[in-house]
């Protein structure tokens, strides 16, 4: 199989796995549909902004949970923000972890929140890594002279 074909297959297989494993959901497909020739970097720019914003939120969460007297309303506000941006980006597992985190905030369960924060960081860095791989594969296809296949999540 020629190089472009191989890269395209690799891209399709990789993207498929992201939906199958629940790392991304259909919202990411909707974002891709918003991208066109006039806005070729739209999705990449959004993802990059999401990374920046998320790092800040995770830092704020870490700080908030390290306070002598933890203000769970403040923690919940940060988690709520993270849930909203993750939903908008299609980062399903991050969003779901935020939902679990919010329940722990309501219970004022500090140990649970600290454990959840670690899990949340894990899920975020996982999706970050996956997205970076995805964009790298896209660049390789384009550099090889091919077109990036559109993967419809509904089939997976």
């Amino acid at each position: 199989m020629e190089i472009v074909g191989q890269l395209q297959k690799q891209f399709v297989d990789f993207t498929t796995s992201l939906y199958r494993e629940g790392i991304l959901d259909g919202q990411f497909v909707e974002l891709q549909k918003l991208q066109d020739e006039s806005t070729p970097d739209f999705v990449c720019e959004l993802v990059s902004e999401y990374f920046q914003d998320s790092e800040k939120i995770l830092t704020n969460l870490t700080t908030a949970l390290q306070q002598q007297v933890v203000n769970f309303k403040v923690v919940d506000d940060h988690v709520h923000q993270f849930k909203g941006s993750s939903s908008s980006m299609g980062a399903l597992r991050v969003r779901n972890m935020c939902i679990a985190f919010k329940s722990l905030c309501e219970e004022k369960n500090l140990d649970g929140c600290l454990r959840c924060l670690q899990q949340l960081k894990h899920e975020f860095y996982l999706v970050k890594n996956k997205w970076e791989t995805l964009f790298r594969l896209e660049r390789q296809i384009l550099e090889a002279g091919g077109a990036v296949p559109f993967v419809d999540y509904r089939f997976y």
Binding site: E30, L34, L46, D53, D77, H80, K83, G84, S85, S87
Partner: protein, 134 residues
């Protein structure tokens, strides 16, 4: 285009305002509405939205986030309705429990949706807005 209306010899675009403190959401929702052919603007909080209407600007559709600094969506919606704004105002929030959104609805929303905005939701709105404008 879905967000445009034919009228005489000119087409009027439906105008939409995205009110959200999250820049990602403003960008995504703004792009989605633009793709539907709407003329779109975005502001970061409820006060900016109220100030825009107070300055004489008007939007057919307002997508109002619930929680924002300076002025939240609930207060902004109340303020707009008290000013006599009859635009279609849709609350958009990550809060999904009925109790959490009831007060928001009672502030004067036409509808309250969970984030993010979807194509189907926008299509259902466009029909209502178009009838209002005719």
């Amino acid at each position: 285009m879905a967000g445009e209306m034919a009228g005489n010899s000119t087409k009027k675009k439906i105008s939409a305002l995205v009110v959200d403190d999250d820049r990602l959401v403003r960008r995504i929702h703004g792009m989605l509405l633009t793709r539907f052919g709407m003329e779109t603007n975005a502001v970061e909080n409820g006060k900016e939205a109220v100030d825009l209407f107070a300055s004489g600007k008007c939007y057919d559709l307002v997508f109002m986030d619930m929680e924002m600094p300076i002025m939240d969506g609930l207060k902004a919606t109340q303020a707009l309705r008290e000013m006599g704004v009859s635009s279609t105002i849709v609350g958009v929030t990550s809060r999904t429990q009925e109790g959490e959104t009831q007060a928001f609805m009672e502030a004067g929303l036409d509808a309250c949706w969970e984030k993010p905005l979807t194509r189907d939701g926008i299509i259902s709105l466009l029909d209502q807005v178009a009838k209002k404008l005719l």
